[in-house]
Symmetry: C3
Amino acid sequence: MSEHTKDNSRGGLLGQPSSRRDFIRKTALSAFVGGAAAACSTDASGAQQSKLTEADHSGGSMAPNPAPVSVAAAAEAMDKMHEAGIKAFPAQTAGKGNQLLKPRIEKGVKIFDITAKKISWQTAPGQFVEAWAYNEQVPGPQIRVREGDRVRLNIKNELSESTAVHFHGVELPNDQDGVPFITQPPIKPGQSYTYEFTAPNPGSHMYHSHHNAATQVGLGMLGAFIIEPKNPDPIEKADIDYVMVLNDGAHGYTFNGKSFPATEPIVAKRGQKVRIRFMNEGMMIHPMHLHGMHMTIIAKDGWNVPAPWKCDTLNVSPGERWDVIVNCNNLGTWAFHCHILPHAESDHGMFGMVTALVVK
Amino acid sequence: MSEHTKDNSRGGLLGQPSSRRDFIRKTALSAFVGGAAAACSTDASGAQQSKLTEADHSGGSMAPNPAPVSVAAAAEAMDKMHEAGIKAFPAQTAGKGNQLLKPRIEKGVKIFDITAKKISWQTAPGQFVEAWAYNEQVPGPQIRVREGDRVRLNIKNELSESTAVHFHGVELPNDQDGVPFITQPPIKPGQSYTYEFTAPNPGSHMYHSHHNAATQVGLGMLGAFIIEPKNPDPIEKADIDYVMVLNDGAHGYTFNGKSFPATEPIVAKRGQKVRIRFMNEGMMIHPMHLHGMHMTIIAKDGWNVPAPWKCDTLNVSPGERWDVIVNCNNLGTWAFHCHILPHAESDHGMFGMVTALVVK
Amino acid sequence: MSEHTKDNSRGGLLGQPSSRRDFIRKTALSAFVGGAAAACSTDASGAQQSKLTEADHSGGSMAPNPAPVSVAAAAEAMDKMHEAGIKAFPAQTAGKGNQLLKPRIEKGVKIFDITAKKISWQTAPGQFVEAWAYNEQVPGPQIRVREGDRVRLNIKNELSESTAVHFHGVELPNDQDGVPFITQPPIKPGQSYTYEFTAPNPGSHMYHSHHNAATQVGLGMLGAFIIEPKNPDPIEKADIDYVMVLNDGAHGYTFNGKSFPATEPIVAKRGQKVRIRFMNEGMMIHPMHLHGMHMTIIAKDGWNVPAPWKCDTLNVSPGERWDVIVNCNNLGTWAFHCHILPHAESDHGMFGMVTALVVK
């Protein structure tokens, strides 16, 4: 057993986005300085002491007592798998979804060109899935416009079946609503189609297929559609504006198209305010739990709530969007995951709907 | 490719309830005017242009490029199934649930006679299921009384097993609560039983079996029980008051006992306020998503909320009731469905928990 | 058919906690006074009359009409099973979870000793399951401290695999957060580990495993961790403070580790205020429905809500905590259950997530 003084490597946290992976590896390793002993914090806000005591266990797998050899070995083997997952985070994978799409501007109209086609998509190390994607991204590119903007979207369908795009939450004229045979014909394979409208109600919205949608959305035909308000409420001001699309379809349990350890951490400086826009494009609820800090709920489906409220576990149902603010006042790497535990962990370690909020 | 001027047939929307089906057929067809080309709206609030461009596709299924013949044919075949579902909406089926039951009045008491029996129930064209129903309706007849009314319900059990009626959400004296062996004996096959009480807390409540209820409620023994307040809040005033009972049991995914395309559209005039009373009698959540307009939540389980809030996707959990107001200010036929997509669409087209809000 | 006068045995309700079981048996039996006839209440607030009419059914199972012999016999057999379940409530079982753990105090620090080990746990009469438990309880012992208290938890791992304890909802310094390989090493079999911190944000929180958690929490490694506020809001004052942990893992559908009829009723006197702290440690939603009275929601995840709201069916999602107040103003034994009916009743009677709130 050992008493530790402050572990400075822990205080450093993520220096630069480019060093995240190394950092997190170091963080994980730092926990093992001194064999199986734990770190100790002198943080003024709380803990002063944290000890790991061992019986006859000296860090190896052969401790004869109290755990028999086979038990200790089996536990050690499981822990190694769990550790490997954590150390791999954030793992590199091919492709990145939800990238901001810069519009072309013609005669004052913001124009977005979107092509739907079948691709191979990597969700985690070694995991490749078939995706039907917008601009080869899952989620499709993030579209951001401003309330009152004139917006045009040119959709090209390179899939083998028809499609259509619905702007979920956006209060459009009926013929721009994207529902085949009700508001438009389907966009057939090989065809293109243009939507055009003036951006109405601001907020966190989505665009996705509304044709054979259980299949098409499940395979990736979805993205964030954000309309920024002309006059934002003061509570909306944030240093970081992060979109987190939840999904649970053919690609497994994902945040922005990736599964842990390939999910992306959110990195903030102490004192910053992070706005998270949760969007559920799946078929299941996902109660999102943040460690270490609470979330203040400021908007539902793009509409500011009349009385912001606080929680650490926010139930996000299919089709819902919730905007929250996190005041990043607690240093460290904080687990951030769906609290339906089988969506986040197995006996092989964490997977799926897990990421971290890192406050440095 | 063609540029269209305003499609007046679209502006007409549903003329009369009796012409809904024709209308919707016409709407669907109007989308095909000009071959595969789309309509264009000049609605002042937004869209001015909407184009469908074709590669070498001239409306037939033989376009050689870019979609190969077999792809185009398969896509066309799928679209035909989707189109057929939409065109059939709202489909005629035998039986209508949730019909307002007018009470007999004796000595100031409003008396409702309810018989539970097994029937055959049609949920959609060609789909017949066994139902255990109140007054041969699924949901059972809608009961509406006023706060303070003296109410009597005569229940006759013509089923092959015992039953009892619980008034879900109604704060009754204990012996009227309908739980066999706790507040009353079960009502055995062939027996009758009378509940009588003064209508207490107003709001959107339900009545349903509380005996072998997972089976009996799943088979249809449920209905809306609404207590209108003596002094309604101004926010409750609406032009149309619509009850929508959600279910997902033995009868499949239904709204008021019917599956799309046999669900009932809600039809309103522009400028009208529609109050929708969602009631979930199933075993699953159903996040209800309205296109084109938002919902203002005014009550939960019959209790007015302290601060009404807005959304377009409302998660309704089993046993919950939510009252919302929709200001019908956006013309058109708007899809209105559960956003768990497998409850609403398959590769054969929309089914189950889909209907429309039509603003004309 | 018979007309009854007031059934006084019903008015008595639970005299003392020690007589609960007898009481409830008597209540159930009283419903059968007069054969199959029902009780009648003269409660001023409502019901005056409640009748059970029989056709040719005189209490036996041989009534020839209208229900044929076999139908009546089958119905009777089912009812007997349902009755037996109710009569057995609250059934005695071995073991009681969620017992308040009194801390040792050393130099002003409140110390809690917790040992994790595998045990046999009884969830209902005749139902024994393997549990991985804290201090041989499921849920683990209830820990209550006060905001600002210095708290130390000594965790001893007597399991065959590693573990760690996360304090869900408690805003701790990062190295006390309990996530192996991120904030600490795992606590290996045979090892002990100490957490120490100053109790921060007050409210209804939880502690549970955060290592191989889908398995470990599912098997019982969870408990309530309550931080009482220095300055409680007046709305929080209650006569009874009840913790109800919901679970649906390897142990079936349980409240505080027990399934109906072994669940514990909440017993209050008329006029008392009961605070219920719902905590969902399972993988599914549980919309909790209270009969006879409504709940006023006062806190979410330990944070007081800005505008308390009312309901009778509260959706509790995994990881969420909801605090509610019930004003016990309605006499009787009230069913209180999850409204996903297959979590609460089968054709063999009520089971799982069912209990009662008894107002006497």
